[in-house]
Each structure stands twice: as structure tokens, then as C-alpha cells.
Amino acid sequence: MKTAVVVFPGSNCDRDLAVALEQVTGRAPTMVWHRDSELPEDVDFIGLPGGFSYGDYLRSGAMAARSPIMRAVADAAARGVPVLGVCNGFQVLTETGLLPGALMRNAGLNFVSRAVELRVESTQSLFTSAYESGETIRIPVAHHDGNYQADAETLDRLEGNGRIAFRYAEEVNGSARRIAGILNVSGNVLGMMPHPERAIEAAHGNTDGRRLLEGLLEAVA
């Protein structure tokens, strides 16, 4: 599987994601700079990493969403290439409009950094096929702006179409309907606040995140 990780100024989980992808796919991803306008040819997967792109200026993800590479990412997503946005990557995806809604300041105002339990809501996607529906997994979160909000109609649509991939099993940040991760209409774009790349090897405490990438590898290969 040929993968790419986009690097924005202020990304800080890009290398973690790269290491995780290399471990799972056996091949190091191509790191793509935000100013590039093209992705590697025949790319099978694009990762948008966590961090604080552009220092979270204006709104988290707002500047990164308008960078040249995001046009190429949007084109690839429209062709069906799987795109995963983690944390700041999720914020970038909502800011580009590839996913609905917005990620606002945590309801408790605190930066939340700890492992949380998630319920796998949908296994009908490229990203979640290795999980069991309703399964509880444990993945770390580390964010200040993870409070997912959208209007009721959008939330109903996400729920009705099985587009909520993960929900927090506990109260974490005030997200509407405890949403932790959502899919686009075609199911090839996933945005999630928790960091699966931080739960890849035994030393991380658990390997629940590894299955996301393994499932993806199996689905794509």
C-alpha cells in the first residue's frame, strides 16, 4: 500500500503516523509538504496528522484547509482514495468541507490528554472493518478543540446513514451525541479526534489503533 502523510507547519504527529504506517504496511509513507500541489501518483491512502497547524490561528485547521495540497487531497478523496484525518487532521477536514460540522473548544475548556474508551459504531467502512460493531476500544486523545458540533439535521443524517464511526463511551469534551469520529457520504474519508497512531505497539499500552490501519490495509490491498 502506497501511503502519504501531509505535513503542515505546526503538525506534530506526522512522524508518529509515519512510523505507524510503516509498521503496518511495511513501507514508509511519502511525506508531502503543505505547499506541494500534487500527491504521489497512485497513492492508496492519505493521512492528515495531528498537531497545531499554523498555530491554530483564526480557527483550528482553518489555514491548513486553504493550503495548496488540500486541493489535491480533495480531488483524491473525490476519486475514492481513503483519507484519514486525526485530531488537527479532523479539524482540517471539517474546515475544507470534506466532512460536515465543526470542532469547537472543549466544553470544559481544558486541554484533555488521556486514553479514552470509544465505542465502534460502524464497521461498514474501510477504516473500521477490523473492529466488531459495538466493541469498546481504548485510544488516546490530546486536544483542546475536540467538541464536535453540527446542526440537528446533520447529526440525524450522520446517525441515520451509519456515518458515525466512533463515539466516546464517556463524557470527554462536550461533543454532540458524543461523536468522536465521522465518515463522509462515500465512507472513504474519516475524521477522528482520538489518535490511533498512539496505540500501535505494546509499549503504547494497547494496540487498539493498529487494527484501524490493518483493516484499511486489508480493504485497500
Binding site: A102, R105, Q149
Partner: protein
């Protein structure tokens, strides 16, 4: 030519920062504050002849996230 863009959260959108400010004001002993909403003010120094449509496009494309925010443009006469 200058313009000001006021970006505010849409009514009904939870504003944790506004809530925190509200609590802090109460903590300082200011009674009678019913609600606080925090927003942003962005000042633009623009070329003469920049149209309203151009400024509005700036707001829609970048300055405001219209999923959660409203914006209001105020042109300043001779700042």
C-alpha cells in the same frame, strides 16, 4: 480604506469561552450579567475600490466558518 469584520458564534451554538468569561465576571462581583458571547474582530486594510462582494467572499472563504459563525462587515470611513 479599512473595514472591520465581526465574527460571532451563531445563536444557539454553545460558547464555552463566553461561559468562562461570564463566570469570571460573576467571580469579580459583577451582578446582572445575563450572558456573555465571545467573538472576533478582524480589521482589514484594503485597496481602494474593494467591493462589498469581495469582502463578503473573504468572510465566506476564510474569515468565518459559516457552519458555526455569523459575520458582519463594517466599512470604516477614513480611519
Amino acid at each position: 480604506m479599512k473595514a472591520r469584520v465581526f465574527v460571532t458564534l451563531k445563536p444557539g451554538v454553545l460558547d464555552p469561552q463566553g461561559k468562562a468569561i461570564h463566570h469570571a465576571l460573576e467571580g469579580l462581583g459583577f451582578a446582572g450579567v445575563n450572558d456573555v458571547r465571545a467573538g472576533k474582530l478582524i480589521e482589514l486594510d484594503l485597496a481602494e475600490g474593494t467591493s462589498d462582494e469581495d469582502i463578503e467572499a473573504m468572510c465566506r472563504k476564510l474569515l468565518a466558518n459559516t457552519v458555526i459563525e455569523n459575520f458582519r462587515i463594517e466599512r470604516m470611513t477614513d480611519a
